[in-house]
């Protein structure tokens, strides 16, 4: 019997751009996931504590204001300290300030612990297909 994976969504840092997380949260629910929707302005610490509390399988973060890197400086270390070694981490949006090639910033965020990095304006379905694939690979679905 397969269990229902728990996914946390939210906009990280001081960012208020919430629509992306609202869209993906609803799409995740419609795809059968259990969703913990934290909304806008979620601190990295809140993501970590909610992930511990809910035993979440993945965190899907959004950021549109260009300061995600600053917000997530210590995130990877803190989540490893919290024992969240096995959680999937996705992030998408306008992740840096300035005009950029999304391929160039991917390694930056992978180094911060993220498994997948998306440019702005991606359909929710694309992320959800990736999520299913990754969860299955880890035997969580």
């Amino acid at each position: 019997m397969s269990k229902t994976p728990t996914i946390i969504t939210g906009t990280v840092g001081m960012d208020v751009h919430v629509i992306g997380t609202k869209v993906i949260s609803r799409a995740l629910r419609e795809s059968g996931f259990k969703v913990v929707e934290l909304g806008m302005q979620v601190t990295p610490e809140e993501f970590i504590s909610v992930a511990q509390e809910t035993k979440a399988d993945a965190i899907l973060m959004s950021s549109l204001y260009g300061m995600a890197e600053l917000d997530l400086k210590d995130f990877n270390q803190k989540r490893l300290e919290a024992g969240l070694n096995d959680i999937l981490l996705y992030i998408g949006g306008n992740l840096v300030i300035g005009r950029y090639d999304p391929k160039e910033i991917e390694p930056k965020f992978k180094a911060l612990g993220f498994d997948r990095v998306y440019p702005p304006g991606i359909d929710a379905e694309i992320g959800i297909e990736d999520l299913k694939k990754d969860l299955k690979a880890r035997g969580k679905m």
Binding site: L70, I97, G98, Y100
Partner: protein
């Protein structure tokens, strides 16, 4: 416990003075503000730095200026940025603050600002005006011959620095777009306090201008709720003594609808100000604004076209200003160069189109005006009922009950039971009405418009249609099947 009734009544100045100091005590630079000296400094400013005078002059001369967005943390770079704007013809200059300043995280800002100053790098997405303080910011104001306006922060540090608009508590935009948990009651109290501060300066002969944003339509959504908030803000600010306002009109991309809203909004605000006895509060202009989602940072062509569209609509409607972002808006902090090309493009349209003073007739514009007016009047009448004639008491109850509502709200106290989609011509219509107090006739009108699109697309409009429409304008297609809809 029954909550205390908040009404539209001028605040007591003794109470106000205490609160003003408390606000300034939040960061050491607040000590640089001496209220009477600030008023005297404001009075000493030349007309070219006084926002309402610049806008009035533009209107008289039949010209317009762009009101851009620009902010970078290091003072010298900020001066350079603003001088660049002035050179490209901008008379109305923004001091856009960074996201942390907007949230009052001054200690965090200080650490990053120190690093910015050391390295010369822009690590904040704006100018941290509170941490920079009065002395530093006066240097900025005195370096450029233009009027300055703070963006994203409301503090007397801005007034004392010589900025001549005042974002009175940032109004609805803070509550509905930047706050997760603030209630409408908290917003109203903040708004009354801050508008009274502007009123205090008006009593001393310093007229600070306030631009009203209202409750932002965060996605394709008709403007009627937004226009109601603009009217209520005008009425309640005027009660506190504010003397100069101008509305922003959030253009959504359907030209007929955008022009109807630009024509109607100042008219409606004037009517209600007069009706409630605030004849001395002047509406100093009308400013079409670039509000919906931007083209992504890599789509420079789209970003150019988008800003030129707003410049064009403003020019045709004979506005005196437009609220424009640069082509770098989606990329974050604009550089001097991208500002220059962006605003030269807008200025080109102002010079060529605005000065032709074109009279136009567009089919459908009267109908859009009529429908929006009916919607606005329906909501305001319900607010007055709910508040026993008091607009503030009624507003609080209206928001709490979803009589005023918005989709995709970041604020969790908003009902969020409404939804908008575009129709067959790209105009914004209500798909879900929630508790909006509209007659059946109005609802049927919207349904009829949406039905035309459904017929073309061969499927019912629903939540997924609304999701696809989120990107329609930024991807450059608002009519018919979006190109990304496979």
């Amino acid at each position: 416990m029954k909550k205390m009734r908040i009404v539209n009544k001028r605040l007591d100045d003794d109470l106000l003075m205490k609160k003003r100091r408390e606000v300034l005590d939040k960061w050491p630079t607040g000590k640089e503000v001496d209220f009477e000296e600030a008023a005297a400094y404001q009075k000493s400013l030349p007309d070219s730095k006084v926002w309402w005078k610049v806008m009035a002059k533009l209107r008289e001369e039949g010209r317009m200026s762009v009101f851009p967005r620009a902010g970078t943390p290091v003072l010298e770079k900020m001066i350079e940025l603003c001088q660049g704007l002035r050179e490209s013809g901008v008379l109305l200059i923004p001091v856009t603050t960074d996201s942390y300043t907007r949230l009052g995280q001054f200690e965090k800002v200080q650490g990053i600002l120190d690093e910015c100053n050391k390295t010369g790098k822009a690590l904040l997405n704006g100018y941290p005006i509170i941490n920079q303080g009065v002395k530093q910011t006066r240097k900025l104001v005195e370096s450029v011959d233009a009027a300055f306006s703070p963006r994203g922060v409301s503090s007397e540090i801005c007034i004392a620095s010589g900025l001549t608009t005042y974002e009175c508590g940032l109004e609805f935009i803070t509550w509905a777009a930047y706050s997760k948990k603030m209630t409408i009651r908290e917003l109203v109290e903040k708004w009354q306090n801050e508008t009274r501060v502007a009123g205090w300066y008006a009593d001393r002969g310093v007229i600070l201008c306030t631009d009203l944003h209202g409750w932002l339509p965060t996605a394709p959504f008709p403007l009627s709720v937004n226009i109601v908030t603009l009217i209520l803000q005008a009425l309640t600010a005027a009660e506190q003594g504010l003397k100069a306002i101008y509305p922003l009109v959030h253009c959504m991309g359907n030209m007929t609808q955008d022009m109807a809203w630009i024509r109607l909004t100042p008219k409606l605000i004037r009517e209600y100000l007069d009706k409630f006895g605030y004849k001395d509060c002047q509406i100093i202009g009308c400013c079409p604004a670039q509000t919906p989602l931007f083209p992504n940072p890599m789509d420079m062509g789209g970003a150019f076209a988008y800003l030129c569209y707003i410049a064009m609509v403003g020019s045709l409607c004979k506005c005196n200003a437009t609220d424009l972002r640069s082509i770098d808006e989606a990329a974050g902090v604009p550089t001097k160069d991208t500002n220059t090309v962006s605003y030269s493009a807008a200025r080109w349209i102002f010079n060529v189109i605005r000065e032709q003073n074109i009279d136009f007739h567009i089919k459908g514009i009267e109908e859009e005006e009529k429908i929006t007016r009916m919607e606005v009047e329906a909501i305001i009448n319900r607010i007055l009922d709910l508040g026993d004639g008091d607009v503030i008491d009624g507003l609080i109850k209206a928001v709490e009950g979803g009589v005023m509502d918005s989709p995709w709200s970041p604020n969790i106290t908003v009902k969020d039971k409404v939804l908008g989609v575009r129709d067959a011509h790209g105009a914004c219509r209500y798909l879900e009405f929630g508790n909006l107090p509209f007659s059946n006739q109005l609802k049927e009108w919207h349904r009829g418009k949406i039905a035309e699109r459904e017929k073309i697309e061969g499927k019912k409009a629903d939540y997924h249609t609304a999701v696809r429409d989120l990107w329609s304008f930024s991807k450059g297609k608002i009519v018919g099947l979006p190109p990304y809809d496979k």
